[in-house]
């Protein structure tokens, strides 16, 4: 992929109205404007004036380019009624004109649109074929890059078999209408000496000319970022390993009707804008004003982001134009606004204008494009209740990096929202179902109650919570009663201990008293004894006396 083969002729063929002339004129104009390569446009079909008027609607001012000597338009007309063939001839006149036009402005690019018209004006096919062969030789020798357009034939690529002369590069344009919506496609049939995509590439003609978008990138070699960005719901970030989504990843939020997909998307947008990053919001269902009003009800002011230029809405009805046009419009809007985050809400509506496989291819291409640009994208998708398996209609679930599923949980005559993360590539994410609640202050995720009866949500959860709270109070009370009992018991015991101790003390005292008395007695007795001894000793001076007495 790198443009047309330079210095060689390229054949562009297609049916009437497939955009051949436009493709070639854009080749000339862009060459002149952007690459400084003057070009010659030799028209065999349209007059120069007609051509100028026709492409003016695409913003090409051929008049000015021509007066600036950037391009030269030459209208070659052959009217069969006017011409009488009287013998042998050649197309030298054409060569002279072309040669002169090329030399006069130093052209590097040449378009012959549509050279096959010569066949309708001139009868002698033998001469024409020989001359056309010579013409291609002439173009090659001039070293110009040429585009030759040709009407598509019944069996061959072109009616007159021009492809046999142009062997370097053949591009086929096609214009198909499926379900009342037209899609233009382009295919490179051959391109010698170049690796080319062989797929059909849809292309578009709009007010800026032709846009071609590759169906898918040839390789999967995109840069990845390990930065993460907040989802705007703190509890959700926690579920996603406390970080949020990876930058440049693709996120799918799917759920049934009224589960709050748009709100998730809006809070993601809000978080992005609060980080002072740019967010582009593609709304396929609601008008921007509606979204802003609705989000205000949950305490989110998107209007101020819009005013500051961080947020831009792009609302369009899916049925407005074909998928291709949508894709190109999205591309253009993204290239213009250069957002960090893109939101598509919802992709489900696109299914109304294309088949599942087409929508899928479109989204693959979009994701491809966004990932190469390092833009985080969030899709929302509506899943239908009757779909048992967890597939989104668009089949993008395998493409996205993270998938949030919001489900209705019907219980106790009410409907509640349960959110869980189906997948999040490369992240430790929670496997829990959380209840997704929308409050006046935004979104929140609440732990659900896992009980013997199953998962409880909504009022059942509240009731359960209440029940548990009551239980707790009762429990607490019970505990405090027991505590008091214990204290009382302790007091009783302690008093008992006290009385015992005092009893013991009195007993001890009693005992001590005895001892003391005993000791006193002993002492007193001792005293008296010694006194008596002393007294006896006094008698020793008169021992006989005393002896006599004692005996």
């Amino acid at each position: 992929m790198g443009g047309l083969p330079s210095g060689r002729p390229t054949l562009i063929c297609g049916e009437a109205g497939s955009g051949k002339t436009l493709f070639s004129i854009e080749f000339i104009v862009k060459g002149a404007l952007n690459y400084g390569e003057p070009g010659v446009f030799m028209a065999f079909e349209e007059k120069a004036d007609e051509l100028k008027t026709n492409v003016a609607s695409l913003g090409f001012d051929l008049e000015k380019l021509e007066s600036d000597k950037k391009i030269r338009i030459d209208y070659v007309h052959i009217d069969r009624a006017e011409i009488e063939e009287t013998g042998e001839y050649d197309l030298e006149g054409l060569f002279i004109r072309l040669g002169y036009a090329i030399d006069s402005i130093g052209a590097k690019r040449v378009v012959l649109d549509t050279i096959e018209n010569l066949f309708s004006g001139l009868k002698n096919e033998g001469i024409l074929r020989a001359e056309i062969r010579r013409l291609f030789q002439f173009l090659k020798s001039k070293g110009v890059t040429a585009i030759i357009t040709g009407e598509r034939g019944e069996k061959s690529l072109t009616r007159q078999g021009l492809e046999e002369y142009v062997s370097d590069c053949v591009i086929l344009l096609d214009h198909r209408i499926i379900n009342q919506i037209s899609t233009r496609r382009l295919r490179i049939v051959k391109y010698r000496g170049s690796v080319h995509g062989t797929n059909e590439y849809p292309f578009l003609i709009d007010d800026e000319g032709i846009s071609v978008l590759p169906v898918t990138s040839l390789e999967l070699n995109k840069d990845v970022s390990s930065d993460s960005i907040s989802s705007g719901v703190p509890a959700l970030d926690q579920m996603l390993g406390n970080a949020g989504f990876y930058r440049g990843s693709s996120i799918l939020a799917s759920g049934t009707a009224g589960t709050g997909k748009t709100r998730i998307a809006a809070s993601f947008a809000n978080a992005t804008c609060l980080r002072k990053e740019k967010c582009l919001f593609f709304a396929f269902e609601e008008s921007p004003k509606q979204i802003i009003r609705n989000m205000r009800s949950i305490g989110m002011d998107l209007q101020k982001h819009v005013d500051k230029g961080y947020l831009e809405f792009y609302a369009s009805r899916p049925t407005l134009f074909g998928l291709e046009m949508h894709l190109v419009a999205i591309h253009k809007a993204i290239r213009k606004f250069k957002p960090d985050v893109v939101i598509l809400d919802p992709i489900t509506n696109l299914i109304t204008i294309g088949s599942v496989s087409e929508v899928k291819t479109m989204l693959v291409r979009l994701i491809d494009f966004l990932q190469t640009e390092q833009i985080t994208v969030m899709f929302t998708a509506l899943t239908l209740n009757n779909i048992v398996n967890e597939q989104t209609d668009e089949g993008v679930s395998s493409l996205v990096d993270a998938w949030l599923l919001i489900r209705d949980i019907e219980n106790n005559g009410e409907r509640n929202r349960g959110l869980y993360i189906m997948k999040s590539r490369g992240m430790k994410h929670s496997n829990q179902i959380r209840e997704f609640v929308i409050t006046d202050n935004g979104l929140d995720l609440v732990d659900v109650f896992l009980t013997e009866e199953g998962v409880l949500t909504g009022s059942a959860r509240e009731a359960r919570l209440l029940l548990e709270q009551t239980g707790e109070i009762i429990h607490e009370q019970a505990i405090s009663r027991k505590d008091r009992e214990l204290i009382r018991k302790r007091k009783v015991l302690e008093s008992k201990i006290d009385s015992l101790r005092s009893e013991f003390e009195s007993a001890e005292e009693e005992l001590n008293k005895v001892y003391v008395e005993e000791a006193l007695k002993k002492q007193i007795m001792g005293d008296t004894l010694s006194k008596m001894t002393d007294l006896r000793r006094a008698d020793v001076s008169k021992p006989i006396k005393s002896k006599k007495k004692s005996r």
Partner: protein, 104 residues
């Protein structure tokens, strides 16, 4: 390379002056043949009532474009109307006469 003939009162055909312009590419065999053949025809049928301008396309490419010349040699009959273009080396005499409006 201009050649003009006077009006010939003796012709049976309608009194009309032929203004002819012939584009050739230099002196290629086919060009030479074309000039020769055309002169013979003109002298025979349009003696003294034609103006023939022979133009070398290589010398006047702008004129080639303005006259919308493609195949060569090309003879443009400007008058009398209708305007006609004759291409080829004029070897097919019948077709030349038809083309010039001399024979129907």
């Amino acid at each position: 390379m201009e050649e003009s003939g006077q009006l010939n009162p003796h012709t049976q055909l309608v009194d009309e002056h032929y203004t002819l312009r012939l584009f050739i590419a230099g002196s290629s065999p086919i060009s030479v043949r074309a000039v020769t053949n055309l002169r013979v025809i003109c002298e025979e049928f349009l003696q003294n009532r034609y103006t023939l301008e022979v133009i070398d396309a290589h010398q006047q490419p702008l004129l080639v474009r303005d006259e919308n010349v493609t195949a060569m040699p090309m003879l443009i009959k400007k008058t009398p109307s209708p305007k006609k273009r004759l291409i080829g080396d004029f070897s097919d005499r019948e077709r030349v006469l038809i083309g010039l409006g001399i024979k129907y």
